[in-house]
């Protein structure tokens, strides 16, 4: 603790010396810097970018962890990374990828795209949006600090008790998991509320629910899922925190607690969570496939219905993660049937995508390439999904590499590939630059080939007796061969990801010259410049149909505005969300290191800032009509 304070003070002195002390010029410099701009921003597009970039950073960290795992497993009896260290890496790989990579990448796209797609100027609660982001990011940093201060969590991303209790996981590892995720989770819940309210309340005039683009629909369903799923995790984490920090016994069977309760709480959250990360990918698929087939989405209504149904059913299937716990045949059968039911709406979606392409004019630009790669991989993940849904068969698959293969087919083959498609698709809208097509191919092919090489053999590893989360396996040729193939595949995925990174860097070296509508798009976000001005729409549009922008391009009539040109009210930037999150971070770190004073101090700080925020008079500012036209002209020139 002492070291930390000393380091902070030293850093402050250093900045003071380097900048010539506290003076007005320095303040101005800071205020005009890009960093300050992003720290205080409440603009949904910038927050989206922050989410997206943080997601990418964590994706790389999680990827490196995966690489370490695969290196260890290249030969039986390898001692590159074993025992507790291995468990730390596998725990952090899972936790990072789900909570710190997939979620923010999704939130990034949602933030940038959804308000534009529904013809809104911002989200409903810009302040909350910023707060959500900063809580997420400080939670993620807290979780990763574990590597440097006391060791990372090592009880798996599911953190099953009693392994996760003090007795069997001494040291702060699991505390980082508990508090890091709790802080991130608060942020996530806020964002969910925000998106749901935005979509329900802020659609442009005329945009009825059944005229909403598919990505917006999936965002709405995702938000609803989060709204109901996150509280289960919050409760679970809170109880675990009490068990670990304050000696409560919610999960200690010797004291009347129950381990099975943790599993229920975790999976009541956990199962909807996997739909939370796949659903937006469905949305992206629908947009991309429809755009690059130059066709209206086939069966739009049934698509909406399917998404809603998947979301609904997603809450009734959590026990399929617990078939082997011994809950009895009745419960297992009921949940098995509920789980199998989900295959039906999922099938509907796949066929709708296929028939969107049917009769279309397929243009294999990079986003479409990823979308096309998505279909078979995701179908395979879905098929093994039905297979693991059958309890008697699952008794063999459960906790083996078969399951690892299954969920990587849905999470990587589904979510990640979908996100890549979305990234290439909306990159021009986010940054005003297109990503390079040739590098895009270098991204796609090695990645998808590597992906199948890595995960396809893992189905068989499971059937041939390799449990998951092991650092070694029996020394038999078949396991050896399959594991080597699996590790080789990682090279492909690494090359693909590096090509993506290089592509991103290259894109920032070029001029920001992307047109407003680079793909011949169909939805509203393509009607405004790339990147859009802070206020998005000069005049909010009037919507008369699904795919309004496409229709107006076809008929040659511009989208009618729904309001006269007038002054636009904008929320003012604020650093309070950053401060509040920092306070939470300090508090979390205090509790983890058992510095309860620091923990309390952080909480007090948090409430002070909250108090300030509540009583602060913040009227925002206005953009005048003449400024608007000026900007437009500049953009056109």
């Amino acid at each position: 603790m002492g070291t930390l304070i000393i380091v902070t003070v030293a850093l402050l002195f250093l900045t003071a010396i380097l900048t010539g002390g506290y003076n007005q010029r320095f303040l101005d410099q800071v205020k005009n810097s890009v960093v300050w701009d992003y720290i205080t921003t409440v603009d949904h597009k910038k927050i989206g970018i922050l989410y997206f970039i943080s997601g990418l950073v964590f994706f790389v960290i999680g990827g490196i962890e995966a690489l370490l795992i695969r290196i260890q497993l290249v030969a039986p009896g390898n001692d590159f990374l074993i025992g507790d260290a291995y468990n730390q890496v596998l725990t952090m790989h899972g936790t990072t990828m789900i909570f710190l990579a997939a979620m923010p990448l999704i939130f990034g796209l949602m933030n940038v795209v959804v308000p534009l797609q529904i013809g809104a100027r911002d989200v409903a609660f810009p302040f909350l949006n910023a707060l959500g982001y900063w809580l997420f990011s400080f939670g993620g940093i807290l979780l990763n600090l574990s590597w440097f201060f006391g060791g990372a969590p090592d009880a798996g991303w599911t953190s099953y008790t009693s392994l996760a209790l003090n007795e069997f996981s001494p040291g702060p590892g699991v505390d980082y998991y508990v508090l890091g995720l709790q802080i991130t989770g608060i942020g996530t819940l806020m964002s969910a509320v925000n998106f749901a309210v935005t979509i329900i309340n802020m659609r442009a005039p005329g945009m009825t629910f059944l005229r909403m683009p598919m990505f917006t629909w999936t965002t709405l369903v995702t938000s609803a899922l989060l709204l109901f799923a996150m509280p289960a995790l919050t409760v679970g984490l809170l109880l675990l925190m009490f068990d670990r920090l304050f000696g409560a016994n919610f999960f200690d069977h010797a004291m009347g607690g129950s381990h099975v309760i943790w599993q229920h709480l975790f999976w009541i959250f956990g199962h909807p969570e996997v739909y939370i990360v796949i659903m937006p990918a469905f949305g992206i698929m629908s947009e991309v496939i429809s755009t690059f087939s130059k066709k209206r989405l086939f069966g739009y209504n049934s698509m909406v219905f399917a998404v809603a149904l998947i979301g609904f059913l997603g809450f009734m299937v959590w026990v399929h993660h617990m078939y082997t716990v011994g809950l009895g045949p009745v419960s297992n059968s009921v949940f098995a049937i509920a789980t199998m039911t989900i295959a039906v709406p999922t099938g509907i979606k796949v066929f709708n995508w296929l028939f969107t392409m049917w009769g279309g004019e397929l243009d294999f630009k990079t986003p479409m390439l990823f979308a096309v790669g998505f279909i078979p991989t995701f179908v395979m993940g879905g098929m093994t999904g039905v297979m693991v849904a059958l309890p008697p068969a699952d008794f063999q698959y459960q906790d083996t590499y078969f399951v690892v293969a299954h969920f990587h087919y849905t999470m990587v083959g589904g979510t990640v590939i979908g996100l890549f498609a979305g990234a290439y698709y909306w990159w021009p809208k986010m940054f005003g630059r297109k990503l390079d097509e040739r590098l895009g191919k270098w991204h796609f092919w090695p990645f998808i080939i590597g992906f199948h090489l890595t995960f396809f053999p893992q189905h068989f590893l499971g059937l041939f007796g390799m449990p998951r989360r092991v650092f070694t396996y029996n020394d038999v040729p078949i396991l050896q061969t399959l594991n080597i193939i699996s590790t080789i595949g990682v090279i492909g995925m690494t090359i693909g990801t590096l090509a993506f990174m290089y592509n991103i860097i290259q894109s920032f070296r070029r001029k920001a010259d992307a047109p407003a509508d680079p793909w011949n798009g169909r939805t509203l976000e393509w009607a405004i410049p790339s990147p859009p001005p802070a206020y998005n729409f000069k005049q909010l549009p009037l919507i008369r149909a699904y795919d309004q922008f496409w229709i107006s391009k076809q008929t040659g009539k511009e989208i009618e505005p729904s309001e006269p040109l007038g002054e636009i009210h904008m929320p003012s930037p604020t650093y309070l969300p950053f401060l509040m999150s920092l306070a939470m971070f300090i508090s979390g770190f205090g509790f983890i290191t058992r510095g309860y004073e620091m923990g309390a101090l952080g909480l007090i700080l948090f409430f002070i800032v909250m108090f300030i925020r509540s009583y602060e008079h913040d009227p925002g500012y206005h953009i005048q009509p003449d400024e608007l036209t000026g900007v437009e002209k500049e953009a056109k020139a």
């Binding site: 069997f168 381990h259 087939s293 069966g299 049934s302 082997t324 295959a343 093994t384 008794f395 449990p467």
Partner: protein, 338 residues
């Protein structure tokens, strides 16, 4: 079973493919080639579902490939596709057919789920209590009064009723060849049953992350013909023979001093495996072949061999003391031979 043989085609083909590519499959560890009824039931369902899913996949992939080839954009041709909204007939078809397929699949699923949960009854059922510890397994035969560790011995063609109990953290009991797994949950008692249709050695694994040593929490199941099983029971029931030679006496003394606290003590500090008939064991700690050299290695390097194990390194013994101790343990068995 015979008329259903065709459904075993797929795994057979897969195994053949794997064998052709130069890697033979470990037959002691293979869910696709079960030797017990529970495993057969599970494989049957696995086959059902694979067949069904491959059918679905074939349909999807055919449409997919056709669409990709037929409707790709061709150079120089600008075409405006018709903006169809949907097609009710098609949409109904791909909703109803999967529903029917899933209903068909649901019947065997539910039936087998209940079958596997049945508790076998009758006089010739062998009852075994399985206790999972970090990171080893204890098997108690309450009707026979025997306790073993790491090695479950069962007679062939008899149902074995397992009662699984957890002590510290979650584990999961899995013998791929005999049947799927059941979790070992502290504070709960779970049941499952198994049988082996042919004598042999089968591998077991812990399938639930249980700490640093999880990967090495292996065990074995030996299925023996009834006569051999009875012989084994008889020899297990007898107390180990007295130490007579000088070296064994020294070893016994050392054992009582250093090891009894955990191994077979009345109130163990840390519960350790039963070592009464250690000489009959084929493995040490479920992972090393039982030789004297390995035993020495284990005693001196426990944690290096199995990360996180609860048995501390015992490296303070003199060389001759260690010799005596291991000699004693390697000969610790009952008078009647195996």
């Amino acid at each position: 079973m015979n008329q259903r043989k065709w459904r075993y085609l797929l795994p057979v083909v897969l195994i053949a493919l794997a064998a052709l590519s130069g890697c033979s499959i470990d037959q002691r560890l293979n869910a696709l080639d079960p030797s017990g009824s529970a495993g057969e039931i599970q494989l049957d369902l696995i086959n059902w579902s694979i067949m069904l899913m491959l059918g679905v996949f074939a349909i999807v992939i055919t449409i997919y490939i056709y669409v990709l080839i037929r409707y790709r954009k061709r150079k120089g041709i600008e075409r405006m596709p018709e903006q169809v909204h949907g097609n009710t007939k098609l949409e109904v078809i791909w909703t109803v057919i999967p529903i029917i397929a899933l209903i068909v699949l649901a019947f065997p699923t539910v039936k087998y789920t209940f079958d596997l949960d049945e508790k076998p009854q009758g006089d010739d059922v062998i009852k075994v209590k399985v206790i999972g510890y970090q990171y080893w397994w204890e098997f108690q035969y309450p009707d026979l009064g025997i306790t073993t560790a790491q090695e479950l011995v069962i007679p062939v063609n008899k149902k074995v009723s397992l009662e699984l109990e957890g002590k510290d953290v979650l584990h999961s009991f899995w013998v791929p060849n005999l049947g799927g797994k059941t979790d070992v949950v502290p504070g709960r008692i779970n049941h499952m049953w198994l049988d082996a249709k042919k004598p042999g050695e089968y591998q077991g694994k812990c399938a639930e992350l249980c700490g640093p040593g999880h990967s090495l929490m292996d065990f074995k199941v030996y299925a023996k013909e009834q006569a051999d099983f009875d012989k084994w029971v008889a020899s297990m029931k007898q107390p180990p023979k007295q130490a007579v030679s000088e070296i064994d006496k020294k070893g016994e003394a050392l054992y009582k001093q250093n090891c009894m606290g955990c191994h077979a003590g009345a109130t163990p500090q840390v519960p350790g495996p039963e070592l009464n008939n250690f000489a009959l064991r084929e493995t040490i700690a479920g992972m090393l072949p039982n030789t004297e050299a390995n035993l020495k290695k284990w005693i001196k390097h426990t944690e290096d061999l199995k990360p996180g194990t609860r048995m501390p390194k015992i490296n303070y013994l003199q060389e001759d003391e260690l010799d005596a101790l291991t000699h004693y343990l390697m000969n610790r068995k009952s008078k009647t031979e195996k």
